[in-house]
């Protein structure tokens, strides 16, 4: 009787720990935040006729990556409100007319001790943007930004799955993922390649 009871209680402990660790912990670990504006990549690509990511997310003349376009870029179309939505009003009134930058939450922002060159990866190695950023550039939804409560990093750095089982090459941007990609492409980079 005692053995059965002990086994049941022990199993209950295991089950609760597994439930907490695999279901509750991942939800509790990340803070979910909305982007300041609802930006739709697909709509913008269709209306502007742009087909390449680099047409907006351009490399500068010196090879550095321009990142997210500044609010000046929005001005060419959004100098006045183009619709009646709340986000359109916020964009025009708070950012375009005031010249302030939209505080986008960057899903792929790397830590400060990492030096990553888009020019080397895109131009020299010929990697497609989707290799790291998935097909978000073709979607018509605004993803929720999930920030780790402890490290402060975006969830995209760790990857979608808490177990680090990757759903695709774009899933996860930790050093292991960089090393894995470099190994696949037979490119060796020492410590100083990224941690200069």
């Amino acid at each position: 009787m005692n053995t059965t009871r002990n086994t049941f209680v022990f199993g209950l402990g295991v089950a609760i720990a597994l439930l907490a660790g695999w279901v509750i912990f991942p939800r509790a670990l990340y803070v979910r935040q909305n982007q300041p504006l609802a930006f739709h990549h697909k709509t913008h690509a269709e209306k502007s006729g742009f087909t390449e990511c680099g047409q907006c997310h351009a490399l500068r003349d010196d090879g550095t990556f321009g990142g997210i376009p500044s609010s000046d870029t929005c001005t060419s179309c959004h100098s006045e409100r183009m619709g009646a939505s709340h986000d359109e009003a916020v964009l025009v009134d708070n950012y375009v007319k005031t010249g302030q930058e939209v505080p986008w939450l960057v899903y792929a922002r790397q830590p400060a001790n990492v030096w990553f060159s888009h020019a080397i990866h895109v131009q020299r190695a010929g990697l497609a943007c989707a290799e790291c950023h998935s097909t978000y550039g073709q979607s018509d939804e605004v993803r929720i930004y999930e920030q780790n409560r402890i490290s402060g990093y975006s969830r995209d750095i760790w990857g979608h799955s808490i177990s680090r089982i990757r759903l695709g090459r774009h899933d996860g941007m930790k050093m292991d993922d960089c090393e894995d990609c470099h190994r696949r492409h037979h490119v060796q980079v020492g410590c100083l390649g990224c941690h200069q």
Partner: protein, 557 residues
């Protein structure tokens, strides 16, 4: 059903066991480690556009070319410059991590007098008083740069003395100065044209000279070949990194270099393996063998091997005159691929290691290595950017650190070609920091300031219309329209490179084989391996934990 204490314990054990099979411990470990990297007081660069500036490393006299990545006015990364004619894109681990030195916890920010806080005014008063009471010695670590001219002028006006502390590479050239009358600072190694190098313990592949120069030559002309175009024969007691990668290695007894050089010279003369006739070493071959630890046959084979592929040059790790005499015998002085005269303007200076008698005060520039200790009872004013534990300094004065001071970079000590560059001040020095040149300029306002000396040097280069300016493209100086344009290019990272000198102008007179004693100062610190005063975290990883450069204790083991 009653819940017992045993139930709670069993439940806890089950929960703990279950937790191990969840990502909680591993994820928390990862996140907490990242959290510790992002504490508020750890400096973080802001997210701004990256600005890349050309500059030069000023942490040792070699002045390797650097590209400094700046964000919001702060350096966040350093990389080499391929267009630099000497360093050719390479940097040592310390140079790679030098941007972190700005935040180093041992950075000096206040004046210290015998361990207590003091002020610049008090230091000025004390130094001015010392100048009136007796001779003052200025000690410089990078002779030839603009501040050196200011130091020399000050010492001359005060009837004091200007001394220099040279690194081991420059020290190795001093015997030739004695025999030829040409200052050691005017000499260099023509490594581009040499085909056999006999290194007597010089760490050629481990940071010797301008770190990138020899490693690049080695990569291009030796790596992967059983019979390379560039042969490196390393003679060393321990299996150093250079010895392990050399084409041939001879393991000798510690301190056996002098005897082995004499033995090789005897074989060269007896078997007439060289054209030159020189004094016969006093040691017999058997004595050389006994003292060096090699057999007589091994010394004979080594001598034949050395002359097998000329041009040959022997490189010492210190000022050993026997190794210098071996070079004279090999015909490696004043010839292509050997020791050549690179400059006709360099001057000879008194070494700082000698006794400093009857001196009232010694002022030590921040360019002097931290382990240099002057042998004097005089009052010592020491400038340093970081407190590396320097002793024997009455006054410890905070100097500008990496990238915080405008300075020029004269020719590297081992280079065979003259170069000139300017390292601009890219970062504002913290308040309360002064260079030795600024300090002396306040004591004597008539001294020409460093920026004017640099401008005068640029004017001299422009007027001479010789040499080329190396940047992304190479431009002859004769094609540059104005001195302002020349100085502007130099200030943003270009390097002036002079014309190669004809090697034939250097002649050494050697009437007898030099005796063994070298410099009289016993374990003289400045002759040892150059060591950084402090290490930034990244360099500590690369340079100390991985022991990329051997410490003296291992080399002497």
């Amino acid at each position: 059903m009653k819940i017992t204490r045993r139930d709670l314990l069993v439940w806890g054990a089950g929960a703990t066991a279950g937790l191990v099979f969840t990502p909680v411990p591993w994820k928390l470990l990862s996140d907490v480690s990242i959290w510790t990297q992002n504490w508020r007081w750890i400096p973080q660069p802001t997210h701004r556009p990256v600005d890349v500036k050309g500059s030069f490393c000023t942490l040792c006299p070699n002045g390797c070319g650097m590209r400094v990545r700046m964000v919001a006015g702060w350096p966040v990364g350093v990389a080499g410059v391929r267009s630099h004619p000497i360093s050719r894109g390479a940097l040592c681990p310390l140079g790679f991590a030098a941007h972190q030195l700005i935040w180093h916890p041992q950075r000096l920010r206040t004046v210290r007098h015998r361990g207590s806080a003091s002020s610049w005014d008090e230091a000025h008063v004390a130094f001015a008083k010392a100048c009136t009471e007796g001779p003052v010695v200025i000690v410089d670590g990078y002779p030839g740069h603009a501040a050196s001219s200011l130091f020399e002028a000050f010492a001359e006006k005060q009837r004091g003395s200007y001394r220099v502390v040279s690194g081991p590479e420059a020290q190795a050239l001093t015997p030739y100065e004695t025999w030829s009358g040409v200052p050691a600072a005017a000499l260099g190694y023509d490594l581009e044209n040499v085909r056999t190098i006999v290194s007597f313990g010089a760490p050629l592949l481990d940071g010797w000279g301008t770190p990138g120069q020899f490693t690049r030559l080695w990569a291009e002309r030796a790596v992967g070949s059983a019979d390379p175009d560039l042969r490196l024969i390393q003679i060393e007691p321990s299996l150093s990194r250079t010895a392990a990668r050399a084409w041939q290695r001879s393991a000798i007894h510690p301190g056996g270099e002098t005897a082995l050089a004499a033995g090789i010279a005897r074989v060269l003369l007896e078997e007439q393996l060289v054209q030159a006739r020189g004094p016969m070493p006093p040691l017999t071959l058997a004595q050389s063998a006994e003292q060096s630890g090699l057999s007589t046959d091994a010394i004979r084979d080594l001598a034949r091997l050395i002359v097998g592929r000329p041009p040959v040059v022997a490189i010492a790790s210190d000022d050993n005159p026997s190794i210098a005499a071996l070079n004279v015998l090999l015909g490696a002085v004043g010839t292509r691929g050997g020791i050549v005269q690179k400059s006709k303007h360099a001057k000879s200076h008194l070494p700082a290691e000698s006794e400093l008698d009857s001196v009232r005060a010694v002022l030590i520039d921040s360019s002097v290595p931290g382990d240099f200790v002057p042998r004097t009872d005089a009052e010592v004013f020491r400038f340093a950017a970081w407190d590396g534990g320097s002793s024997k300094a009455d006054w410890l004065l905070p100097a500008p650190g990496f990238l915080e001071e405008l300075t020029d970079i004269p020719t590297a000590p081992t280079s065979a070609i003259e170069t000139y560059a300017i390292a601009s001040s890219l970062v504002k020095a913290p308040p309360g920091v002064q260079s030795a040149a600024q300090f002396l300029g306040r004591v004597d306002p008539d001294l020409t300031p460093v920026d004017k000396i640099i401008h005068t040097r640029c004017e001299a280069l422009f007027r001479a219309r010789a040499g080329t300016l190396c940047a992304q493209e190479t431009t002859p100086v004769a094609m540059i329209p104005s001195v302002e344009k020349l100085e502007e290019q130099l200030r943003i990272g270009a390097v002036w490179m002079g014309e190669p000198q004809h090697p034939g102008g250097l002649r050494c007179k050697l009437s007898e084989w030099p005796q063994a004693p070298r410099s009289e100062c016993p374990p003289c610190n400045s002759l040892g391996t150059w060591q950084a005063p402090v290490l930034p975290p990244l360099a500590s990883k690369l340079y100390q934990e991985s022991s990329l450069r051997e410490g003296p204790e291992r080399r002497n083991a």
